[in-house]
């Protein structure tokens, strides 16, 4: 090529250079393929995410609605406190026969013959058994309602709720469904009269566990998860970062530190249930911490999350170019200062990714909680991490195994809540990570 330039060639006329073949077509094809692979990869990932979310959301959005039956409840004194001894013995109000009030109201609303016991039973079954608690709370909060009639919105029983949302196939023969034809008729009556409505289901957020789907919520589980995640975040992040810094920056490179490195990688491969065994024997049996407590769960999940954070952090620390370290050291910064002022901030995106992934894992994990008693039926809200509680994935797991139809949608509903919890939890880390990201 460059067939040249001689003095005789007229100025500004260029000889057409015979271009070398550098396989440009093929390489561009490869480039396009490579890029396409990347796109396809992201699309695949997002596709699966979308499918999963779609499955969950389409199954679960109805969980955020709940059928209620609003009835005029007559708080009859002769039912609640026939002997008028509530002044002397307030606990009488606790144990009064509240279901009777519901029954009477229903019988009136539906116009059933009170003597027809079978029908009355079927009718009362339409209202959740938790109505007892609901009415009791009203009376305890305000004893003066006794003797008056008040409109109260009662939860419909789970199967009625499901039927009302169309989740029970009403076309199959009557004996094969949990809602019989008579109840369907009543449902229609109540709906027409405006007594039966579908409302936003606040209960799913605020209730504790219950064997009745309509009264079951993720309140306790969410609180338990919150406690545990706080513990994990407060312990795992600093410990993980500290350990990584030591191993990556300070530890002498010898057999021992190799062993520790391998060991940490290995801890990541330990099945999560084994961490449950560890928690059971160390925290509960040895240290005497309480069973079923979020504290123990948090500690177990911390140990489980640590390897993830350490591995991610070490990888990120490794990727910081040595010239940055030299620059700081050369100015008379101590190693500690160099690391904390320059290296760690540059490695921060990796650290935060490790944290995000580790926490996500911890948030969704059930198996280790099984052995420390957190896969349990817990009704009362834990006042502290020392008290019994469950966790969101546990609640999901338990609901997934329930027989009642109404739990199917609630399972998906709980998954949606868990994912929202996850996104909220990670949001801070994600924003922080974006701030630390920079190219140089």
């Amino acid at each position: 090529m460059t067939e040249i330039v001689s003095s005789s060639s007229p100025a500004f006329v260029r000889p057409t250079a015979a271009r070398r073949d550098i396989g440009i077509k093929r390489r561009y094809a490869a480039e396009r393929r490579f890029r396409a692979y990347g796109m396809v990869a992201i699309m695949t990932g997002l596709f699966f995410l979308f499918v999963l979310l779609w499955t969950v959301i389409s199954n679960g959005y109805t969980a955020f609605q709940q059928t209620t039956i609003t009835l005029p409840i007559e708080f009859a004194e002769k039912v609640i406190d026939p002997k008028n001894e509530r002044a002397a013995n307030p606990s009488k109000l606790m144990t009064a026969n509240y279901p009777l009030l519901v029954r009477d109201a229903l019988v009136k609303a539906l116009g059933i013959d009170p003597k027809n016991r079978a029908e009355v039973k079927k009718a009362t079954e339409m209202v959740s058994a938790s109505a007892r608690m609901q009415l009791r709370d009203i009376v305890i909060a305000n004893p003066s309602v006794i003797g008056t009639t008040v409109n109260v919105s009662l939860l419909a029983e789970g199967n009625i709720d499901s039927a009302n949302k169309g989740q029970i196939d009403l076309a199959v023969e009557e004996s094969k469904r949990k809602v019989n034809d008579q109840q369907i008729g009543w449902m229609k009556t109540l709906t027409d009269s405006g007594a039966m409505t579908k409302d936003f289901n606040t209960g799913i957020f605020t209730f504790g566990a219950s064997s009745r789907p309509e009264a079951a919520g993720i309140g306790v589980a969410a609180l338990g998860s919150l406690y545990m995640m706080l513990i994990v975040l407060v312990l795992a992040l600093p410990i993980g970062v500290a350990a990584s810094i030591y191993l990556e920056e300070f530890a002498p490179k010898n057999r021992l530190t190799d062993l520790i490195e391998v060991n940490i990688n290995n801890l990541a491969a330990v099945p999560s249930i084994v961490y449950g065994l560890l928690g059971l024997s160390i925290f509960i049996n040895f240290a005497g911490m309480p069973r079923s407590a979020a504290l123990v769960g948090g500690l177990v999940l911390t140990l489980m999350t640590l390897p993830t954070i350490i591995i991610a952090t070490r990888a990120a620390l490794k990727a910081v170019p040595p010239s940055i370290r030299s620059a700081a050291l050369g100015l008379g910064a101590s190693k500690m200062q160099t690391i904390f002022h320059h290296v760690l901030p540059l490695a921060m995106p990796g650290v935060l990714t490790g944290t995000i992934i580790g926490l996500a894992h911890a948030l969704g994990e059930t198996a280790p909680l099984l052995l420390i008693g957190m896969v349990a039926f817990v009704v009362d809200f834990p006042g502290s991490p020392m008290e019994p509680s469950t966790a969101l994935p546990v609640q999901i797991y338990m609901w997934a195994n329930e027989a009642e139809r109404a739990f199917v949608e609630r399972t998906s509903g709980a998954i949606i809540i868990l994912l929202i919890f996850l996104v909220v939890m990670n949001l801070g880390a994600i924003l922080l990570r974006r701030r630390f990201e920079r190219r140089w």
């Binding site: 040249i4 330039v5 060639s9 550098i22 440009i24």
Partner: protein, 271 residues
């Protein structure tokens, strides 16, 4: 191409510089880094088989201009180029243009040596490999040896070709980067201060290389050494604060520049 004797070519070039065709033409080139404008309507043409030296105080835009010539600016996020630059009459900023081919034709040696974290051998054979310039191991060996020799590094590294390139001294790294660029035999070679970390002897080697390359290639070199510019280039362009102050035959530039600022700069205390 070797039909003419080297001396003859040189003579022809020196005498009829103005008759030499333009290899690259820069017209009204402006560069912005975000808000900041780094180059102001630069009109600078690079002649074929000629060494063009870019001089000017630090931060005046020499590297920036150099980078526009093979579109290395594209890799800087907030960098924007306006104006027109052609290579063999093709607009290199035309969306239809192929950047890869462009960069294969217009090679670059960067200001800060940046060897790959690979062995010395791989550093040099990288370009030929991706461009398919060699097939057999023997071909590669030959290219690597020749390129390292041209860059004056062969003797120092021939026993450690498979050690990492990052373990070399600063000057060695710089020469490695030169060898790497030369190995691809581009049509135009852009060199951003190729001798800044080199001792006089190594510098001489590189200058010799430039001299040699010039017969076949077009070279643009950024340098801070007036002597070097005078020694190796036929044309010199002087930048100041993002403006092209003057472009002229090197001889003229160093003896009788048109612009006062050039005069001041060149006569500046020392070189």
């Amino acid at each position: 191409m070797n039909m003419m004797s080297e001396a003859a070519v040189e003579k022809a070039l020196d005498q009829k510089m103005n008759a030499v065709p333009f290899k690259m033409i820069g017209k009204d080139v402006s560069v912005y880094y975000g808000e900041k404008r780094a180059l102001f309507d630069v009109n600078l043409n690079v002649r074929e088989n000629t060494v063009t030296a870019l001089i000017g105080p630090s931060g005046c835009g020499k590297s920036t201009f150099l980078r526009t010539l093979n579109r290395m600016n594209d890799t800087i996020d907030n960098c924007r180029v306006t104006g027109k630059i052609t290579l063999d009459e093709e607009d290199i900023y035309d969306p239809a243009i192929d950047v890869v081919e462009l960069r294969a034709r217009v090679g670059m040696v960067f200001q800060k040596p940046n060897p790959f974290p690979k062995s010395i051998y791989e550093n040099v054979s990288y370009g030929p490999k991706i461009h398919g310039l060699a097939r057999s191991k023997a071909d590669f060996d030959q290219i690597v040896e020749q390129s390292l020799q041209k860059a004056g590094l062969w003797n120092e590294v021939k026993d450690r070709l498979h050690e990492p390139g990052t373990g070399l001294s600063g000057g060695q790294q710089q020469r490695l980067c030169i060898a790497r660029a030369v190995a691809v035999s581009p049509e135009v070679i852009l060199m951003d201060e190729p001798c800044s970390a080199l001792d006089p002897i190594a510098t001489a080697k590189v200058e010799e290389l430039i001299h040699e390359l010039r017969t076949n290639f077009t070279i643009v070199i950024v340098t801070h050494s007036m002597q070097q510019a005078a020694r190796v280039s036929q044309r010199t362009a002087m930048f100041h604060l993002g403006n092209l102050v003057e472009e002229n035959d090197t001889d003229k530039m160093f003896t009788n520049p048109d612009d006062q600022r050039t005069q001041d700069y060149i006569m500046g205390r020392f070189g």
